[in-house]
């Protein structure tokens, strides 16, 4: 026991100093300010934690510094917003997406078919690339003609900002449905499936024949079949599903939106790992540059699709009640009236921003923690973080675990985005800002340590919020009468300074592994 304390004496001293600093800071405010500031700190910390946790899992196991994590966060927010505010767009996009996935996920069949093709290496390569290019070009042509009801960035009345505003006012008008005009629906649907299959077949041809023992397992065809059938069903009942989603209560819609953004994050992560990151495991610095580039491209794409201006994601009904007994003073009032604010120790606290987000953050912390500690896959991940080669030597398919962890990490970030957007709004710079906070949190807590990510995020959130609060009330400087008011723009600078100081004392962070 004594040795652990001695080993970590520096970390403990730093923690005590920070705690004392926060305590002094809290003493300088009134009671209700302290409550609000701490709750907001937890809120910001929770969102940062969701991004940082994914980052730390990925870095710990894969040694990949995923700088696209901020962009994943932003994409999660934008996807969630689309599902929540424009369910019709979401339903329209679903069909082609599912069909493309079905085409590509039939890889077992394509590999089997590819093994029947006997060609010299060079012609085979040419044929394969030809198939890929032809497939993708045709797919692109079909998609360009596929009708998707959407917003119009050049027309203010139909821009995302206006739709957000209308949804916020409870005006849920179903926009006119986009119809097939240029191509027949059958051609579009089957064509998308066929062209993506063509491209997938080309990719299967490119792979070397390492699938001699590839026996035809029927289970491999279940997933593509389900995707295909779902795609067709969505296309057939497009209008009904859209109308049904418009009649849903916003609470349910919110849940669907969050689920969709998590799924999109997971899908994006799996896609990134298998196609782009995997070839670069032998060149770590290039992975870093790749994720950086992907992050920038993601921002550009978001700007092209959703536009540059900022807009809001209206909160679900559960958190917007204002009537009668609001702001609520006790729990029953809160639940009965679905108040947007609650009185807590004399301070007026927003339920979604300052109560709901921290609770979700803590739930995710506990869930991921149990996943890591109690499940088999978690055991493999922890073992992999400690010694990857040993795990490989024990005959565990590390590749699959890598993909899984990457998908999980990006999914967590997307979840964070969907959770934060209703309180913070959506801009194309939101990812960048959060990535910086998450990096600082991780550097403070320790890059590969999961509890470190939680602790670092909490510290970053608390310090940021205390600085913002002191920016409002001002810090009386000692020995002078002047009051220093840090502007909100300077707030991130304080956490960066904290990071630099902590890294100078503890190069591995508070809870990081000692070398």
């Amino acid at each position: 026991m004594k040795t652990t304390i001695q080993k970590n004496s520096k970390s403990i001293i730093v923690l005590i100093v920070i705690a004392a600093f926060l305590f002094v800071a809290a003493r300088g405010m009134s009671g209700k300010d302290v409550v609000i500031t701490i709750l907001r700190g937890f809120s910001v910390g929770s969102v940062t934690f969701l991004v940082a946790a994914g980052f730390s899992l990925i870095f710990g196991l894969l040694d990949v510094l995923n700088l696209a994590q901020g962009t994943s966060y932003m994409i999660g927010a934008y996807v969630g917003w689309t599902v929540y505010v424009r369910p019709d767009t979401f339903v329209d996009v679903l069909t082609p997406l599912l069909l493309i996935l079905a085409g590509f996920s039939l890889s077992a069949l394509w590999k089997r078919l590819a093994s029947f093709v006997h060609l010299e290496t060079k012609p085979k390569k040419i044929v394969a690339w030809l198939l890929i290019v032809v497939g993708l070009v045709l797919l692109g042509l079909l998609l360009a003609r596929y009708p998707i009801s959407s917003w119009d960035l050049n027309n203010y009345a139909e821009s995302p900002i206006s739709y957000s505003y209308m949804a916020d006012q409870g005006l849920r008008i179903i926009p006119p449905e986009a119809t097939f005009t240029e191509i027949s629906p059958e051609l579009a649907i089957l064509g998308i499936f066929a062209t993506s299959s063509l491209a997938a077949f080309g990719i299967a041809l490119l792979n070397r024949e390492d699938n001699q023992q590839n026996n035809a397992d029927w289970r491999k065809y279940v997933a593509p079949a389900i995707l295909f059938i779902f795609g067709i069903l969505v296309a057939l009942f497009n209008t009904q599903i859209t109308n049904w989603m418009f009649t849903l209560s916003t609470n349910w819609l919110f849940l669907i939106a969050v689920a969709a953004s998590i799924l999109s994050g997971i899908g994006l992560g799996a896609l990134m790992e298998t196609t782009l990151i995997r070839p670069l495991y032998s060149r770590p610095i290039y992975q870093l540059m790749l994720t950086l580039g992907l992050g920038t491209i993601g921002v550009q794409i978001v700007q092209a699709v959703w536009g540059r201006p900022e807009f809001v994601w209206p909160k679900p009904e559960l958190f917007t009640g204002t009537g009668g007994a609001c702001p609520a003073t006790n729990l029953t009032d809160l639940i009965e009236n679905q108040c947007s604010t609650i009185m807590l120790l004399g301070g007026r606290v927003r339920v979604y921003d300052e109560i709901f987000i921290p609770i979700v953050g803590i739930i995710v912390l506990i869930l991921v923690w149990t996943l890591l500690k109690r499940s088999r896959i978690g055991m493999i991940i922890r073992a992999g973080v400690q010694d990857r080669q040993m795990v490989e030597a024990l005959g565990i398919n590390v590749r699959r675990v890598f993909t899984l962890v990457f998908a999980l990490g990006v999914g967590l970030a997307a979840f964070g985005g969907a959770l934060a957007a209703p309180s913070a709004g959506l801009t194309s710079t939101m990812g960048e800002k959060l990535l910086l906070s998450a990096l600082i949190a991780l550097a403070i807590g320790g890059l590969t340590s999961f509890p470190g990510a939680a602790l670092g995020s909490l510290l970053v959130g608390l310090i940021q919020q205390f600085m913002i609060k002191y920016g409002q009330i001002g810090i009386p400087l000692p020995f002078t009468d002047t009051v220093f008011k840090p502007s909100p723009a300077l707030v991130p600078a304080s956490t960066v300074l904290l990071m630099v100081i902590i890294l100078l004392i503890l190069p591995n962070g508070l809870l990081g592994k000692k070398e």
Partner: protein
């Protein structure tokens, strides 16, 4: 590489580049029908525009060179490199506009600031290594970016609009004395390149390469690696500051975007396209990137940066050694290929 070759043969490539770039404005001028005298008087229209584009490329190339010295030669990946550039640019602007110092004092001030920044970075150098250094440097740079963007110093920096209306000394004014500015930027680029080549070939530079390859081994050989890293850092910082100063003099607005991570990524992109660790790659990369970017913006418009990003990803995945690196790898093959072609033409084996 032969050691007893003289200055001219050693730097043949860059000197040819210098000569070509010096003649180029006059050639372009002749093509659009204006005599060399009009070029010297800064009256040509298209050549003037091309000179402007080239000045931007030279500034980027100097900046990318300084990044290559840190990243490609010494192996220090810094995400705060834009800070050197931005501090110099803002300092030049503020010193000329608000403090109204004479030009030579401004230059001294900028160089002093460059050394000071390098020393600031070297405070953390012995403590943090690898990825942590990247994060710390990113931290420093973002503090500077935040300060520049904040409204607290709006009178000095212009916050998010940028610093405008810098009174440029008359002899360097890029509007009236475009050709002179062009030549100065070109000569600075060539001088920096030659100095860098010399530095990398020197014993000090060799140790820097050794640090990149294997720091532990360099330490075992008795070198104090931190000292060498600091030397590389100071040289790199000064070079980046020169680029920043030129930027401040050339551009009408110093936008705060030169301080953010995106600008460091531009340098990274240039170095990557040209070839990491091959100094001339920085120049090639700057030309390639700026021209591709220019053409894309002309013909594609708003989505040009998506394509630039895609090019970046393709380079990372498929051309990891960049243009120069790949050419060097293929050099022997290319020579053999040329010989074969010649043999076919002449009919001799």
């Amino acid at each position: 590489m032969t050691t007893n070759s003289n200055f001219l043969t050693r730097n043949r490539g860059i000197l040819i580049f210098l000569a070509v770039m010096l003649i180029a404005p006059f050639l372009v001028g002749l093509m659009e029908g204006s005599s060399p005298a009009t070029i010297l008087n800064n009256a040509g229209s298209f050549s003037r525009f091309l000179e402007g584009l080239a000045i931007e490329i030279f500034i980027w190339a100097i900046f990318a060179l300084s990044f290559d010295l840190l990243f490609g030669i010494t192996g220090l990946l810094s995400f705060g490199h834009a800070m050197f550039f931005a501090v110099a640019a803002y300092l030049t602007g503020i010193a000329l506009k608000t403090l109204q110092l004479p030009f030579w004092q401004v230059v001294l001030l900028v160089l002093l600031a460059a050394v000071l920044q390098a020393l600031l970075f070297s405070l953390v150098l012995p403590r943090v290594k690898g990825i942590t250094f990247t994060l710390v440097s990113l931290g420093f740079a973002s503090v500077f970016h935040i300060i520049v963007m904040s409204s607290d110093m709006i009178n000095l920096t212009g916050a998010d609009v940028g610093l405008q209306g810098v009174p440029v000394p008359a002899f360097l004014n890029p509007t009236n004395e475009r050709f002179r500015f062009y030549v100065i930027a070109l000569v600075l680029l060539v001088a920096t390149y030659i100095f860098y080549r010399r530095f990398v070939a020197s014993p000090t530079g060799r140790v820097c390469v050794a640090i990149r390859e294997n720091e532990g081994r360099a330490k075992m050989l008795g070198y104090n690696t931190t000292t060498f890293k600091i030397i590389a850092m100071i040289i790199s910082s000064i070079t980046a500051s020169i680029a920043g100063m030129l930027h401040a003099l050339y551009q009408p607005i110093i936008s705060p975007s030169v301080a953010d991570l995106g600008f460091t990524v531009t340098a990274l992109l240039i170095v990557l396209i040209g070839g990491v660790g091959s100094l001339n790659g920085a120049i090639v990369g700057a030309f390639a990137l700026r021209l591709v970017d220019f053409v894309l913006r002309r013909f594609v418009g708003g989505s040009a940066s998506i394509i630039t990003g895609a090019i970046y990803v393709v380079f990372v995945l498929f051309v990891p050694y960049g243009i120069i690196g790949t050419l060097r790898l293929r050099k022997l093959n290319t020579k053999a290929g040329w010989k074969e072609v010649l043999a076919r033409i002449t009919g001799k084996p």
